[in-house]
Structure formats: C-alpha cells, structure tokens
C-alpha cells in the first residue's frame, strides 16, 4: 500500500478498507526496511504520527471533517517549522532548534488531518543540488543508492520515491523541488511566488523561496495545492487571489493547448538521453493535440550568474540571525561577543553556506552594490520580460528539468560551479516568480528523467492540465524504484 497515491488511499480510507493507523504503521515499516539505504529523514516522529493517525481514524469513524489528506502520511522538509519538533535545516547551527510555532503549511496540514511522519533531509539551509551539503548525512537516490537524489529537497523526493511516505513538502529557491523530483522520478511543483505562504519556512532567499508538493503523481500534487495555496495574513508577499479547485484542471486533454519548447534548454550542455526523452514527450503531447512551437529566451544564459548574486545576497542577510545569542548553537568558553559570534558561525555553518554568505555580503557591500546586486536585479527584470514575451504565444513552456540525470555522490562536490549548473533550467523560473512542475518522462539507464512544464503566474491549473494529460498517456509514473 506504500506504493499507492494519496487519492487511491483516500478511497480505501473512506471505504474503511484501510485505517490511517495501519497506513502509518506501514509507512514506518517501510522506513524501517529501507531508510538505512536512503537516509531521507533527519527526524522521525512516530509517536506523534500514530496519535495523528488515530485521530484521523476517529474522523473516518464519525464521518466528520474528512479531507482528501486525512490520515495520509506526509514528510515535511526540515526547513519548515514544526512546533516542539526539531527543525534543523540540516545545519549544525540549528541542530537543537525546537521552534515555538508551526509554519503556516504545517498548520494547514495538521488541520487537514494529514499524518506528519518526520522531517526530511536537505542541503544545509536549502543551499545545494544534491543533499550532500547536509551537516548530518547525504541522502541517496532510491533508483541507485550510489547517486544523489538531487537537492535541496533531496530527502523529501527520495522519501516519496522510496515509498517511505505518500506525500512530502519541499521548498524551491532555484530548483530545489523540481530537480530532486526529476532525479528521483516523482512529481514536484514550485508554485507561483506568492501562491503559498512562506511563514515558517526558514528563509534562504526570500524573494525566490516557495513551498510546494512532492508526490507520486500529478493528481496528488493538485490535491496538495488545493490545501497549500492561498493568502496568509502572516506573509505580506502571499497574494490574495482566489484558489481554484486544481482537480478541475485534471481533464486528460491538451487539444489546442499552445506549448513552447525552450530552444536554449535543448542545446549544448543537455545530455543526449535527456534531450531525446524531452523530444519524445513533446511528440507525445503533439500527438494528443497540443500545438507545439519553439521559443527563444535569450536572457537565459545570464540566469545562473544573476541567481548567484541575488540568492546569496538575501541569504547573507537572512542567516545573520544565527549568532549564538538566542537559539541554536553557541560555542562555549568564548571571552567576548565578537569571538562568540565568529566561533559560533565558524563551527555552525558548513562550507557551502559560508561560501554563499561571503558572496552575498560582498555583493551588498558599499562600492559593489550597484555593480553586482543592482545589476542582478536589472537582469532579473529582463528575464521576466523574456518569459512574458514567450507567453504571448504559448500557454505553457517545456524544457528538461535538469541537464542530466542523477550523478554519483561526490562527483560535483569539489566543483561548486558544475554543481550550480545543474539548476540551469530551473533557476530562471524562480527569478521570474513563475510556477513550474517536473514530472517523469523517461529513463537514462535506470535513472529517471524529468520534464519541466512552466506556466504563467498563478496559472498552476495550466501545468496540471498538460502534466495530467501526459501522465495519463504514459507509464513512467507507475515505475517504482527497486530498493
């Protein structure tokens, strides 16, 4: 039953053919069996989960307050605050941090009766593309444990792919939901910036971060978005627009949908097998009645450079609060304030986090601000305009989610630039604040390939429509990793 989707399990639960307690116990049994190989979790919350499962069973018994997520096991990325449960960001500096509050998405999940089974591993503070930057341990790709699951939401993607959980939450700043979804052969959606509340998501780069679902299929992603989307008075950047029922978009038809294939992401730097899989997916969609064109977004070549100024600049500011004064790590025996600050941060942060704090601090410094940060903001606007232009003739855009399939552990850790380039297709989307979904579209050997579908702001329904039609007419999502 761990292989089933949330919507399939929901039917079993409402028909009382399965109890939430059995389902939760099954999840932990699966975790027991495979977690040693996958290492997807930082913290497991079995006792609390079973309590939530029993409460869900009571609801099924009474028939009251049942939602599509009632009793469904879900894993939460460990950069979303859970009251009284460790929230570490996979960082030494927050290894002991017990939040005094729940993130808005966690509040929503709890209210919907979902069963939170644990907190998943990530690249420290969500900075990375392989989950190797976790201060605790790397997570492995369930399709091949010698390869990475992608990142930074590698723990969440791997947990879904390994059927340790049914659903998971991720956060995406430059591709951190979509790239691991691609590597692990699951569905991952980064919603429009402002669609889902960021309150309680430990900030990496505030103008880019978004929370979204990681699921086994498109329907589950739509179900999760029905819950997660919406305005939150606690997040001024969340937008007050009505939330449609995303399941209405799951019609299985793409007739006359205008699809643009991004030229710049089908050329050099994209592995041939990935390219072939995307071409095949495009052909499939054409077969189903979509109108295909090629579009060019010339500013894309500047996206990674732009991102690596804006994201570190914001990160350097957001991470200033980890200073040993109020919470988290404080080194012992320091004689004065400055020593306490520097020793705490020296010991508490890993190398990639330090690299980005230094980059960002530099980019914001007097005398460099105009040349770096301000310039990056201008390029960001140009990238946005390129997208707007492309969307004049297209309803959605297509590209590979990542230029490669999952790479071997350690293959890129010594070369940050090579690592950064694995987000080449996802980063422009964050810079433009648009929604994008990654879904499985083939394999290179045993490793999954992801198709990225990009939409206009607040038009997640278009992504669901195209993705669902593709999924219904292919078998990729039915394959499971053999662990």
């Amino acid at each position: 039953m761990n292989n089933k989707t949330a919507h399939e399990l929901h039917t079993l639960l409402t028909e009382r053919k399965l109890s939430a307690t059995e389902l939760t116990e099954a999840a932990f049994a699966r975790i027991e069996k495979v977690e040693d190989k996958v290492k997807a979790f930082v913290t497991l919350t079995k006792d609390e989960a079973l309590k939530q499962a029993r409460a869900a069973d009571e609801q099924f018994k009474s028939g009251k307050n049942i939602t599509p997520l009632t009793g469904i096991p879900i894993a939460v990325k460990d950069n979303m605050c859970t009251r009284g449960t460790l929230t570490t960001c996979s960082s030494k500096i927050l290894a002991n941090y017990l939040p005094p509050y729940d993130a808005t998405v966690v509040t929503k999940l709890k209210a919907a009766g979902a069963v939170i089974i644990g907190k998943t591993n990530l690249d420290e503070f969500a900075m990375g593309s392989s989950t190797e930057n976790s201060a605790f341990h790397p997570t492995r790709n369930p399709w091949d444990v010698k390869t990475v699951p992608g990142g930074s939401s590698g723990g969440s993607a791997a947990a879904v792919a390994a059927s340790e959980t049914i659903l998971a939450t991720g956060s995406d700043t430059g591709g951190s939901i979509r790239q691991p979804a691609s590597f692990c052969g699951v569905v991952g959606l980064k919603p429009t910036y402002g669609r889902v509340s960021r309150y309680g998501l430990v900030a990496f780069a505030s103008s880019l971060d978004q929370i979204g679902p990681l699921t086994k299929d498109v329907t589950d992603a739509a179900i999760m978005m029905n819950l997660l989307a919406g305005h939150d008075p606690k997040d001024s950047t969340s937008v007050d627009l009505p939330v449609p029922d995303y399941r209405q978009a799951l019609v299985g038809d793409v007739k006359n949908v205008r699809i643009g294939v991004i030229k710049e992401l089908m050329g050099a730097g994209i592995e041939p097998e990935v390219k072939d899989a995307i071409k095949a997916a495009v052909n499939k969609l054409a077969e189903l009645g979509a109108k295909i064109t090629e579009v060019s977004l010339p500013s894309f070549e500047y996206a990674v450079a732009t991102y690596y100024l804006i994201a570190p600049a914001e990160a350097s500011s957001n991470l200033a609060r980890y200073d040993g004064v109020k919470f988290g790590l404080r080194t012992k025996g320091d004689k004065d304030l400055i020593t306490m600050y520097s020793n705490t941060r020296q010991e508490g942060f890993g190398p990639e986090v330090k690299r980005r704090i230094m980059l960002g601090t530099y980019a914001l410094s007097a005398g460099y601000y105009d040349a770096y940060y301000l310039k990056a903001l201008k390029v960001r606007t140009v990238i946005k305009r390129d997208f707007e232009k492309a969307f004049k003739d297209c309803d959605v855009l297509l590209s590979p989610t990542a230029p490669t399939v999952a790479f071997k552990l350690g293959a890129k850790t010594a070369d940050p630039l090579a690592m950064y380039l694995s987000d080449i297709a996802t980063i422009p989307v964050n810079l433009a604040g648009l929604p994008a979904l990654s879904l499985p579209c083939g394999f290179a050997g045993n490793l999954p390939i992801g198709l990225q579908v990009i939409g206009q702001a607040f038009k997640e329904d278009a992504l669901f429509r195209v993705s669902f039609a593709y999924e219904q007419n292919t078998e990729w999502h039915k394959k499971t990793a053999a662990l």
Partner: protein, 480 residues
C-alpha cells in the same frame, strides 16, 4: 574670521500604537522583561514581518503636518549590523525610498521666524535593551542581559535639512516638533524616557562660504536642555580646532551631561557598512489618495495655529499660550474650562500656576490628572460668586487633585465655604478688638497699617473662611 554654524537633526520618535511595527505584540513600556515578545520580534527562523497599518497612519499624519510630500511608493530596507539587542542582526528601516519627503516646520527664535526644511520622514523598528553586569558597555561586562520587549516597537525618524544656524534654534526646533507630535497624539515625546531621541549633525563654515565644513554627529542627548548644551559645547570645539589650524575629523561623538562636553569614539568602531537592500519580505507602502485625505482630516488645528488663536481671541499672553499648546491634553483641558466658565485668562492662570505646580511636584502628566474641566470651572464660578476666596479655592483645588473627590464633597466635608454673614463675622471681630486693645489704640492714632493685623487675626479665627470684602467693611466700621 567669522564662522556660522550649520546643524541638522535626526529625531527618532516612538509611535503611540497598540502593537509593534511588524508583529502583534504589545507596544507597552515598562512591562516585565521579555514578556511582550513573540517568534517574529525575537527573529526566530522562518518568521515574516507584517507592517502595522496604524504606524503608517501616524507617520503619514506627522508628515502631512510637516508639509511633506507623501511618496506614492516607499520601500522598507534592511540595515545590517551585529548586536545582541537586534535579534535578526538587521533592522528593518527605510533607506532610498522613505515614506515622505520635502517638508518644513516654522520656528521662531528671538522674534525671528524661520522655515526649517524636513528632508524625510520614515518608519523603522526599534532595537531591544541591554543590561550589562560588571561594566558600562558590552565590552568588558561579566554578562549582559537582553530585554526584547522594545524590540520591533515602531519608530518614526524625522530628518531635518541642515537649516539650523545655532544651538538655540536646534533646541527650539526640537521643542516645536515635540509639541507637534504630542498634539497629533503620535508620540508622547519625552526625551528623558527615550520616547523622543535626537542625534545632531553639526559643522561650521566661514560666513559667505557655500561649501559645508566637516560635520560631526553628536549622540547621547537625553533631554531637551541637553540639546542646546551639547551643541554649544561641540560648536565651541569646532571653532577652537579650526582656529588652531587643525582639521575636524568626521566622527560620532558622545555628549556627557555631567561634564557638558563631547568625546569622540574611535572612528574604527563606527566604520559601519550597513549593506542596505530592499526588504524582500515586505511589499512597498502605497497609500491611496483617499486614505491620505482621510488622515489629513484627522490632523485638526496645529499647536502654533492654536497658540495664535489663544493670543488673539482669548487674550492670553504669548508665554501662557505657549504652555497651553505644549501638549494636546493641556490645550483640550483649557478650552473645555473656557467653554464652561467663559474667562480664558483666569482658567489659564490656574492651569499654568497651581495645577502645573502640582503635576511637577507629583511627577505626573496632564492626562493623569484627577481634576476634570468641569470641576475647575465649578471652582472658578465659586470664586466669582464669592462662595470661595482665592485661598480657599486653592485648598479645594488641592483636595480635589489629591483625592479625586467632587468639589462640593470637599467643601462640605471640610466646612470650607466662605463666611459672608455679617452677624457671624461681627461676633468674631468684637472678640478680637476686645483682646487687642494696644493695636486698637495704634489704629485710632492713625496707624492704618494695623488693619492688616486685624484681618489676619479674623482669618486665623475663621480658618480663612471670612469673605475679605465683607470683613474689610466690618472691621473699618468696628474700629472707628
């Protein structure tokens, strides 16, 4: 060579909002440490700020009263520095795009009226409070404790143009601004309590020179009186240094109220790079024209307009009128009494005199007053009708101020009404004349000044309750 002094002030005013700038914690002063705190104002991981609409309203109100332009779109920015009283290690402030710009306020010094330019009005959050054990500052302290109650409380910064030309002008400017803030109910403007803070930039230049000299920033000015003192001292230092042929170094200097001098910080300690950038967690402030107009309607009469009216229409002296407009409560109280009693000068004299004296003695402010305008009007009417002498009225007033009792209750309880009954007073006078034959002789021999002795004796015997006019007439009759 003759020099002129150039001063510009940065005033920080704590706003009188119910809650903090970016969270719903109480903005109350003086509560137990770390009780008005939440995840947002203690900078927990993952929290987000939400702007307090009331704070924006109060800042717009002030900016309009200062004749500023309200910017159609203003932006919050993060100002970075590491310090334990700043939980996020950045302060949310405004930088390149402030809430309001280009205003002015009129001041009058030595009979000369001048317009002082306001560069900008912006909003920001305050830091917490540190208490150090074993040393004055964090460096060298055995331990330091932090109270986050003040963290995130709303501050409004008002920056003046370098238009002030003397320490006295700077002091008057601050007074005018403080009384404006109080009358708008935006800030209680108590410098001693820190609800109004002032940093001063000062420089000198030869008269006729267009270019500014090197400025210094004077901090730690903690009272209205200290503004003038601090700037006189710093002005003197600038002149001395310049005349000795030395150069003024641009730096921050601390004013010491004891020695009345300023001392420099090592400039290295203040070589900050704040790395400002737009706060990505907040959207720009874009007040609608309708909202701005709505706020404009709430401003009402400004203190200096009110002062003019008190002088011309109510015939108060300029000095008394100034005191009546020092804060909104005083002015409102005064006008309420005038409405009930009709004699502005009398009402003002009581307010400026005995009531102010009482408040100063009790270290209370006007809004803590137990006396209502109706009660003061009642007392004033009793003086008019002769029911109370001035002296009795004072006693009654103090009783009301101290106990909060009704006027009638006080008078009846102490038997304080005036004695105007001739037969009752005649009895007392006869007794006194009988007991003081020597003084009677003196009076009869032409020493009329002795009359005062008899008045005193009667007053003593009646505990001051004798109606003076009746008493005088009766005494003269009895002694002749």
């Amino acid at each position: 060579m003759k020099y002129e002094t150039i001063i510009g002030l940065e005033i920080h005013a704590q706003l009188l909002t119910e809650s903090k700038m970016f969270c719903s914690c109480s903005n109350k002063f003086g509560d137990k440490p770390n009780t008005n705190i939440c995840p947002v104002c203690t900078g927990q991981p993952g929290v987000l700020p939400v702007t307090n609409r009331k704070a924006i309203e109060l800042a717009i109100k002030t900016a309009l009263a200062l004749n500023c332009t309200i910017e159609p779109s203003s932006v919050f920015a993060r100002k970075h520095y590491f310090y334990p009283d700043l939980p996020k290690n950045f302060q949310i402030s405004q930088y390149e795009l402030p809430l309001a710009t280009k205003g002015y306020i009129e001041i009058e010094v030595d009979g000369k009226k001048r317009k002082i330019g306001i560069t900008r009005v912006h909003l920001e959050e305050d830091a917490g409070k540190l208490v150090h054990v074993g040393a004055e500052r964090i460096m060298g302290a055995e331990e330091s404790l932090v109270d986050y109650n003040r963290t995130g409380t709303p501050l409004m910064e008002i920056v003046s143009e370098p238009d002030l030309r003397s320490p006295k002008e700077a002091a008057v400017y601050t007074q005018r601004l403080a009384e404006l803030l109080r009358s708008l109910m935006v800030c209680d403007a108590k410098m001693e309590e820190g609800s109004l803070r002032c940093d001063a930039n000062i420089s000198i230049r030869p008269i006729g020179e267009a270019k500014f000299g090197t400025k210094t920033e004077v901090k730690n000015i903690n009272s209205f009186k200290a503004i003038e003192k601090a700037l006189i001292s710093e002005e003197k230092r600038h002149l001395e240094v310049t005349e000795e042929g030395e150069k003024i170094i641009q730096e921050t200097r601390f004013f010491d109220e004891q020695t009345e001098t300023t001392t420099g910080m090592r400039s290295k300690e203040y070589a900050h790079d704040y790395r400002y950038f737009p706060e990505p967690d907040l959207v720009p402030i874009e007040p609608s024209t309708e909202w701005i107009e709505e706020i404009r309607q709430t401003i009402g009469e400004l203190p200096q307009q009110k002062k003019e009216r008190f002088i011309t229409e109510l015939k108060l002296s300029p000095e008394t009128a100034q005191i009546m407009v020092a804060d909104k409560q005083t002015g409102d109280f005064f006008e309420a009494v005038v409405k009930l009693h009709g004699q502005p000068v009398a009402a003002a004299n009581w307010i400026v005199g005995d009531i102010t004296a009482f408040l100063n003695e009790q270290k209370m402010s006007f809004n803590e007053l137990a006396l209502s305008p109706a009660q003061l009007a009642e007392i004033l009417k009793m003086i008019d009708t002769g029911t109370l002498s001035n002296k009795l009225a004072k006693d009654v007033l103090f009783q009301v101020l101290k106990t909060g009792k009704q006027v009638k209750e006080v008078i009846e309880g102490a038997g304080l009404t005036q004695i105007s009954d001739e037969s009752e007073l005649t009895k007392v006078i006869e007794e006194i004349i009988k007991n003081n034959p020597k003084q009677v002789e003196q009076f009869k021999s032409g020493k009329t000044a002795v009359l005062a002795f008899f008045v005193g004796q009667v007053m003593k015997a009646t505990k001051g309750r004798a109606n003076p006019q009746v008493l005088n007439a009766l005494l003269k009759k009895a002694l002749h």
